[in-house]
Symmetry: C2
Subunit: 263 residues, 2 copies
């Protein structure tokens, strides 16, 4: 009976391979803690993850002893610990795309003086991998590691535009979550926008994830970041600017600069 959840997961993913239960659960715990807005208690976590309290207890104690999880001063609420920070930093430091595109991002940031991002598609989300700050003081707070729905960002749309209808339908959630009044939540409207992106070669997000922010992005060809065999790009770079500084002429110049940068 206790083997059922593992078998079920394996069946769901289609993979005929048995994950190590405790390792799997360790990741479940870490991801659940990362996704929690408020720090949960042991019991809450156990219910949410469908793990017996006693089993979770051992895992949490192990994570706590290693500094990956910490408890509140009350000893009753669990959150991520300091060690969890290290792997993220290490990932960014060793990622090929981040390393190879660093000078490109620097050059774009210096040229336009606006915020520059490097993002990667992960499922239906875009993860920010690198950032160069605008010279203007609009703090976006360490966005590295932050995730946003792909359909609501220029980075995401530039990457989604490469996919065919079928894969797009598989990937995107329904309904498409709305972040601002400008977010494209209608699949047909999004499809039309993606077609326009394919034609133009670059994507634009018009206040679709943050009010007042317009963003221009292009996909980075896979061979450009050391993955010659790969057909589709997984990375994209973007420049964001407030509507107050936006103009069609500037948008054209930015798009041309981005396309030249990834060529």
């Amino acid at each position: 009976m206790s083997t059922e959840p593992q078998a079920r997961r394996a069946a769901e993913t289609g993979a005929s391979f048995q994950p190590v239960k405790s390792a799997d659960r360790t990741l479940d715990v870490l991801e659940a803690l990362a996704a929690s807005v408020q720090r949960p208690t042991l019991g809450e976590l156990a219910r949410r993850l469908g793990i017996p309290k006693s089993s979770l207890h051992g895992v949490l104690r192990t994570l706590q002893a290693r500094g990956w999880v910490r408890v509140d001063e009350t000893g009753t609420r669990y959150g991520l610990g300091l060690r969890a920070l290290r792997v993220g930093a290490a990932f960014v430091e060793t990622d090929d795309a981040v390393t190879l595109l660093a000078p490109v991002l620097d050059e774009l940031a210096a040229r336009f003086g606006e915020t520059v991002h490097l993002g990667r598609l992960d499922g239906a989300e875009v993860v920010y991998l690198a950032k160069r700050e605008s010279v203007h003081p609009l703090r976006l707070f360490s966005a590295i590691g932050r995730r946003l729905p792909a359909h609501a960002t220029a980075l995401g749309k530039a990457l989604l535009a490469q996919l065919d209808e079928e894969r797009l339908a598989d990937l995107l959630p329904t309904p498409l979550p709305r972040l601002t009044s400008h977010t494209l939540t209608d699949l047909e409207a999004l499809r039309a926008d993606l077609a326009a992106i394919r034609a133009a070669g670059y994507a634009v997000d018009r206040e679709e994830n943050s009010e007042g922010i317009i963003c221009v992005a292009v996909a980075v060809p896979a061979h450009r970041v050391g993955h010659p065999g790969q057909r589709e790009a997984s990375d994209a770079i973007s420049i964001s600017l407030p509507v107050s500084r936006h103009s069609d002429a500037l948008q054209e110049r930015i798009a041309a600069a981005l396309l030249a940068a990834v060529a």
Copy 2:
């Protein structure tokens, strides 16, 4: 026989508690991958961690299936995956000190136009938790999550200065690693510096971790970041500037501003 390593670890840490083996190993793997300069193979990892290849195999497959670990295109070298990034970002977003001190960092960055850091002591290392960029283009590359030996940074010395002789000796490695020609590697010299820091109320690092960079830091009292019961501070804030812009008068002004900011 196979239970020995766990028993040994428990005995070493003094804790009379049995960690969950697979969970412990999961963290071992993630930390080893984070610490690797080059991506290791399964066999290399197994040797380094003292884990049988076959056991490590299962753990790695599990981590890989969840996107925490990825393999090279050759399928033979393992590195951290995209999901590893999420927990680090989540930690920073939910940390009390980062949240509470954000406006303080903003104000200092705006006032001096130099790089501002928030760091925390973890063992003998300092971890960077937040950063505000200098307006001057000296890219330090997303230092968040990065670690440096505490004795070689202003942040670290500001925090080490609170500890008594005994705890200091327990904490610091011997010999003290050298990062630049200015690093204090002599324990007595470091002790003298820490005494001076206690007297002055703030710490200065004179090119001790990076040539050409001087840094001023003060510890943030624990009650200031929502930990009223705690006697020692674990966090500190700093301002870094290149020697070319340094002067004793500016250093005094920075120190006064930092002390006022944490009061």
